[in-house]
């Protein structure tokens, strides 16, 4: 009876509690589906790491519409530079999204010069602005005040053909002030210039892949047919960025490549770590009609992470320094947060910015709780503070319990703490066989050390028991056979007796 009375009250209370529960952390809706790949290379839904916050067009800024903007760069001071290629100007914004200045030309020894389709930008540590002035065929270096420092024009070198035409598209500068340029029609790699603007050589040539069917066709075809065939030339690079250690991150748009992202050391070798479950190439699974990811820009973030912009599907793929895919966001479309022709990606004050050439605007993405936690945990792990990463990884797992990297991160920390048995569990959840093997070996040794005495005792008992059994059987058999021999002897004697020999 009493139960009947308070049952509705409890129900009402639980209903109230249900409604009073706070809204989920990632209540912001996104116009794209967030996902990540699991160990079996299946795209599994995941919480969004970044959500679109707002968009900025040229009109919003009060400088008139952008026309085919080609590149964007954020300086160390926080200033944001946008190459408004179609209008031949550089727009400089401060960190509050107010127009700081518009650079539409420069003073070259008293002569006013203009840009012609500038499509690449870079700002070095001192704030000097490097502009790839594409259609004028030169790299212009301006001081932060907009004064001309120097220009890199048509390089002269023995290794360049006589009819060579310098058409720079993208530009990057490293700490040693070497200038790296991606130029149109150059298949040999990234052009490298020294401090004075002299051409040094190429770095990081893309290798030509031999296709055996093509080879067979070539074998079977005539000279005239061969002349009609496509040439085997390496693909061009599409963009470059430089990290804090002076390594170049370069993207190429080779459609069949497993390595569209490269990390080049100073001698031009690819040293990108690819320790994840799958290739660092954007989408693993894609529709044939859409095709694999085609990267147009790459941005190195803090703590060894890097984001690559896929122009094919308008997605941003972010990896950590070991080549694990952390999260994917973005897409193609007309809503806020989707792109038409994404051209450049940048990072500013925790937000990610994507420049859309097609729509002529900038989309600002701000991190969600999930994204912030992942970034933080990756940072701790990168700096070797694994114990501090564990609570953050647990937070990540609360938001996405399918996040393998978090399990592996916790496992690694547990391994450091010598709690090998728990580490085993986490490595298994994260499907990390290498980590599992290390943890297992340590755990096995631990168990053996602890139980070696018992183990030996058991073996001794078993061996002695078996020996005793054998001995016993042997004696019994001997006795039995002795008795039977005696019996037969008796029998024989009896028979003999019966036969009446006595």
């Amino acid at each position: 009876m009493i139960a009947k009375k308070w049952l509705p009250a409890v129900m009402a209370a639980s209903l109230l509690l249900c409604y009073a529960a706070p809204a989920p952390a990632s209540a912001e809706s996104t116009p794209y589906e967030s996902y990540n790949y699991n160990y079996w290379e299946e795209a599994v839904p995941a919480p969004a790491a970044y959500v679109p916050d707002r968009t900025l067009s040229g009109k919003d800024l009060g400088v008139g519409d952008f026309l085919d903007p080609g590149d964007m760069v954020v300086a160390a001071s926080g200033l944001i530079y946008i190459a408004d290629s179609g209008n031949g100007r550089i727009i400089c914004l401060d960190s509050d999204w107010k127009v700081n200045k518009v650079i539409s030309g420069f003073d070259n020894k008293g002569k006013a010069e203009k840009f012609k389709n500038p499509s690449g930008l870079y700002v070095n540590q001192e704030g000097n602005l490097f502009i790839a002035d594409t259609d004028n065929g030169r790299i212009v270096v301006l001081s932060p005040e907009g004064d001309l420092l120097r220009m890199i024009e048509q390089p002269k070198s023995d290794i360049l053909p006589a009819d060579f035409k310098f058409i720079p598209v993208k530009v990057t500068v490293d700490q040693a002030e070497r200038v790296y340029v991606i130029a149109k029609g150059i298949f040999e790699g990234i052009m490298q210039f020294d401090k004075n603007g002299d051409f040094i050589g190429y770095v990081g040539t893309n290798k030509v892949k031999r296709d055996y069917t093509e080879y067979l066709w070539r074998l079977l075809s005539t000279k005239a047919q061969k002349a009609q065939m496509a040439l085997f030339v390496p693909t061009e690079f599409s963009n470059i960025d430089v990290d804090s250690k002076g390594f170049l991150y370069a993207t190429n748009i080779d459609p069949g490549s497993k390595e569209p992202i490269k990390r080049l050391n100073p001698s031009g070798e690819d040293v990108l770590k690819r320790f994840g479950y799958f290739d660092v190439k954007g989408d693993i699974r894609f529709r044939i009609s859409i095709g694999p990811s085609k990267f147009t820009d790459i941005k190195v973030l803090a703590n060894g992470m890097y984001s690559a912009l896929d122009a094919n599907q308008g997605k941003v793929f972010t990896y950590n320094d070991e080549g694990d895919l952390l999260y994917v966001y973005g897409g193609k479309g007309n809503q806020v947060g989707t792109f038409k022709i994404p051209a450049a990606i940048e990072f500013s004050g925790g937000n990610q910015l994507v420049l859309d050439r097609g729509k002529g605007n900038i989309v600002i993405f701000k991190p969600t709780r999930f994204g912030t936690s992942v970034n933080q945990a990756v940072g701790y792990h990168y700096n070797g503070e694994d114990t501090r990463a564990v609570p953050v990884w647990k937070e990540v797992l609360k938001l996405n319990s399918n996040y393998d990297i978090a399990y592996i991160g916790i496992g690694k920390s547990l391994l450091m703490d010598k709690s090998n048995k728990e580490a085993l569990k986490y490595f298994k959840l994260g499907m990390d066989r290498d980590g599992y093997s290390v943890a297992f070996k340590r755990y096995r040794r631990e168990v053996m050390q602890e139980h070696f005495g018992t183990f030996l005792t058991v073996i001794m008992i078993l061996v002695s028991g078996w020996l005793a059994f054998r001995l016993l059987r042997f004696w019994r058999r001997k006795r039995l056979s002795g008795r039977s021999r005696q019996a037969s002897q008796n029998l024989k004697e009896g028979k003999a007796h019966e036969a009446g020999f006595h």
Binding site: R433, Y436, S437, V438, F440, K441, R444
Partner: protein, 206 residues
């Protein structure tokens, strides 16, 4: 019982020439032992896929299905026996179908006796030691093929070369059987559909 199920198979895997001879001419093999071995192979395969250690087990647990596992072993086994019988009747083989089945079945014994301990051992292995697991697995397969070879050779009283040729041809025949099987099935399906359509037409007209 013990003689049939334990002693003779264990003797066979180390003395194949003698034992297959005994099987053919002394009537030592039993069809029910063959079927038991086949069942044990299925069980050890299922156990291997389900319970082998994490470091050597690359199966997606969501896609494991013991029934399909059973079919993928039992069906090829009978297909092999049938194809071998079919090809050897044309190539003057002396073996009967029962003998072929027994030779194939008894040749599977090493798989059973190596897989089961290796499944247990693999749960206590670190990554470097998994090489040993893979070594034992390949040994069991090679042993199986060798026994099968000797078995077929003895059962049909063939020379070495002829045995090799027959075994290769058997694989080809297996392919042909599968092709014909699917062909017949799809034709049957179409014929059935045709009659069903006629029936429907008739019922609608009346």
């Amino acid at each position: 019982m013990r003689q049939d199920f334990i002693k003779f198979p264990l003797h066979l895997i180390v003395h194949p020439f003698d034992s297959f001879w005994d099987m053919k001419y002394e009537g030592k093999g039993k069809i029910r032992v063959t079927l038991t071995i086949l069942l044990l192979v299925v069980i050890s395969m299922v156990l291997k896929n389900q319970f082998a250690g994490f470091l050597v087990n690359y199966n997606d647990p969501r896609h494991l299905n013991s029934i399909i596992q059973l079919l993928t072993i039992v069906f090829p086994f009978f297909l092999w026996c049938l194809s071998n019988w079919a090809i050897t009747t044309l190539m003057d083989g002396e073996g009967k179908f029962k003998e072929i089945m027994m030779a194939t079945g008894y040749a599977l014994v090493p798989i059973v006796i190596i897989y089961t301990p290796m499944i247990i051992a693999s749960r206590f292995m670190a990554e470097e030691e998994t090489a040993f697991y893979y070594l034992m697995m390949s040994i069991s397969s090679i042993w199986f093929v060798a026994l099968l070879f000797v078995g077929i050779m003895t059962v049909h009283q063939y020379t070495v070369l002829k045995t090799v040729v027959t075994m290769l041809l058997t694989v080809v025949v297996m392919g042909i059987v599968i092709f014909l099987g699917t062909l017949v099935l799809s034709m049957l399906q179409q014929i059935i559909e045709f009659f069903v359509n006629i029936y429907r037409e008739l019922t609608f007209r009346t």
